[in-house]
């Protein structure tokens, strides 16, 4: 089966005062129909830039997407889509929800206005039909009293309700892929769990694929089929979800897992990864994780490619396959 989304060699640079920042560097991944891929990494690793470039939402300039980058969605080259088809793709083929729901709703428009606007952007619907559809969407995302909600304004809703409304907007045209960029980060913990469950249920119900962007491994573990770990603008490890959590192949993934407390095993001290992410204008030569890696050795002066590390997984580390060599 061919992939629904096929990203190859995505490279995004930003011209900054301190030089060129390679925010996303040669990132490749695929998402099959109905699959959930979690893109995991620290702040500044290029997750959001990757997500935005999929829908060509990055302002260019200052961003520059390398012309060799290929983004194929359902066989269409997203980079080369004419304006009208790109607009139809946004929301139509690929829906997107962001973090900070409060910032993403226009305070002067009612929830109903937001939703009908999106419905009408993708279907020639009359006002009444669009409003009826908006109502159904609110029901679908589990919001009570939809008729009243249509007339309400964003400030009258809680954060969780706002995010549900935005999810309804993103799903208005039944996209085949939903990009969720830190959809629960700005919410409190119980609401986070609800939204996450809702995302997963709706994904199943609508047969969507999902690209979930998060810095929270727990969230990735809960809903993802596969996980791609990003560091320094690059994917450093990709693996099926269970395999990754059972046995991380990259020292960075290992470090992330060790930094998170575990509830399902004997208690052990959590350990932070020493140091911090270097600025995107000055990635270290060789392996980008080398300065922070406890297991670095001479060979890490050359950057490793993504090396196969077992069934359907790969790791950007020289230790793969030959850890004995390292010692």
């Amino acid at each position: 089966m061919t992939a629904l989304l096929d990203v190859r060699g995505l490279t995004v640079t930003f011209a900054t005062r301190d030089g060129t920042a390679r925010a996303v560097d040669d990132v490749s991944f695929t998402i099959a129909a109905g699959e959930t891929l979690a893109l995991v990494g620290e702040s500044g690793c290029g997750k959001t830039v990757t997500a935005l470039s999929l829908l060509r939402l990055l302002p260019e300039p200052p961003a520059t997407v390398d012309p060799a980058s290929r983004i194929l969605f359902a066989g269409d080259d997203v980079r080369a889509l004419p304006a009208e088809r790109l607009r139809a793709l946004r929301g139509g083929g690929i829906g997107m929800v962001f973090q900070e729901p409060a910032a993403n709703l226009n305070p002067v428009l009612s929830i109903g206005a937001h939703l009908t606007e999106t419905v009408q952007a993708h279907a020639a619907a009359s006002r009444a039909a669009a409003r009826a559809r908006a109502r159904d969407l609110l029901v679908m995302v589990g919001l009570p009293d939809p008729d009243r909600l249509l007339r309400q304004y964003p400030h009258e809703l809680s954060g969780g309700m706002q995010q549900r409304a935005l999810l309804a907007m993103a799903l208005a045209a039944e996209p085949r892929l939903l990009i969720a960029d830190e959809p629960t980060t700005a919410l409190d913990v119980t609401t986070q769990a609800e939204i996450l469950e809702l995302l997963d249920t709706l994904r199943r119900q609508l047969g969507m694929a999902m690209l979930l962007i998060t810095h929270n491994l727990g969230i990735a573990a809960a809903v993802a089929d596969r996980v791609a770990v990003m560091y320094g603008g690059r994917i450093v490890e990709t693996a099926p979800c269970d395999a990754l959590f059972a046995a991380p192949a990259h020292p960075y993934t290992e470090g992330l897992l060790r930094a998170a407390p575990r509830l399902d095993g004997p208690p052990r001290p959590t350990a932070a990864i020493p140091g911090s992410v270097p600025p995107a204008t000055a990635w270290p030569a060789g392996c980008r994780f080398r300065p922070r890696c406890a297991r670095a050795f001479e060979r890490c002066g050359d950057e490793p490619p993504l090396l196969p590390a077992g069934a359907d997984r790969a790791s950007r580390c020289w230790l793969v396959g030959g850890p004995a060599e390292a010692s």
Binding site: L55, L57, P59, P61, R87, A88, L89, R90, G91, G92, G95, M96, F98, E100, A103, N104, L105, N106, V108, L109, A113, E117, T118, A121, H122, L166, M169, A170, A172, A173
Partner: protein, 268 residues
């Protein structure tokens, strides 16, 4: 808030007086009542503000002059907001080459003194009509507004809901109309209100110079011009028109200031 109230009351009063001029004015504004005995007459019961050197009732001329001045200024500002708004939205929303071309053109236009341009263009007409005046004043008055609108659009387009609407596939013209314009309306309204006073003043200046809407149509500028040669013997001619002018400019400035305090939370 006080300046908002005072400004609003004054502007409202001016507009009402202008609209009711045909009812309130005791004489037709062009009527030369008695050229032999009633030239530059002082204020009296029959002529509350006196008469001008051509024996016309001054109150009637000031009232009708308000119509001309306010109509020209109001329509010119509407035109300036439409032109400046369109250019500013295009430049701010599109960015890139469009932005550079439009804004450098505006910079170049701003470098030429407005009065000079207006005088040159006015020279094309033998008798300037009110619509022509509107086009000239509006057509030369939108540059500042376009820069303001561009800056506001640039900041409004970075808002989360604009990104969310784009990601949802809402067409760009609709995003501009529904998500950008309402959020930048405040500063535009303030600038337009402030601009009204300036246009009233400019129109009066042109009429004073004799290149505005021609006599006998009353305009505050031409009333001042009529009165300047009798300034020592009949100061009420110049004084009444000047007072009307000062009040109008003050009213719009106060209203604009008050609106700014009300509409723009960043204002001091």
């Amino acid at each position: 808030m006080t300046s908002l109230r005072v400004g609003a009351v004054l502007v409202l009063a001016l507009v009402v007086l202008a609209l009711l001029a045909p009812v309130l004015a005791p004489y037709p504004p062009h009527l030369q009542i008695d050229l032999t005995n009633l030239r530059s007459a002082p204020p009296s019961f029959a002529h509350p503000l006196g008469t001008d050197p051509y024996s016309r009732d001054l109150l009637s001329r000031i009232l009708y002059g308000a119509r001309v001045s306010l109509a020209i200024a109001g329509l010119a500002i509407v035109l300036a907001v439409i032109l400046g708004g369109t250019v500013g939205i295009l430049a701010g929303w599109m960015g890139g080459v469009t932005d550079v071309v439009l804004m450098r053109t505006v910079d170049a236009a701003l470098a030429i003194p407005r009065l000079f341009v207006v005088l040159v263009v006015l020279a094309l007409w033998e008798r300037v009509t009110v619509p022509a005046m509107v086009v000239i004043l509006g057509g030369t008055g939108w540059f500042g507004i376009s820069r303001l609108v561009r800056a506001e659009v640039q900041s409004a387009r970075e808002r989360g809901w604009v990104a969310a609407a784009r990601a949802a596939g809402v067409p760009a013209p609709r995003i501009v109309l529904r998500h950008v314009l309402p959020n930048i309306a405040g500063p535009i309204i303030v600038a337009a209100t402030m601009g009204l006073g300036q246009v009233v003043l400019l129109e009066a200046g042109l009429s004073y110079l004799g290149v505005g809407v021609p006599q006998p149509t009353p305009s505050w500028g031409s009333i001042i011009a009529d009165g300047q040669f009798v300034l020592r013997t009949a100061p009420w001619v110049v004084a009444s028109a000047s007072l009307a002018l000062v009040t109008t400019v003050l009213a719009f400035t106060l209203l604009g200031d008050g609106l700014r305090a009300r509409l723009d939370p960043r204002a001091p």
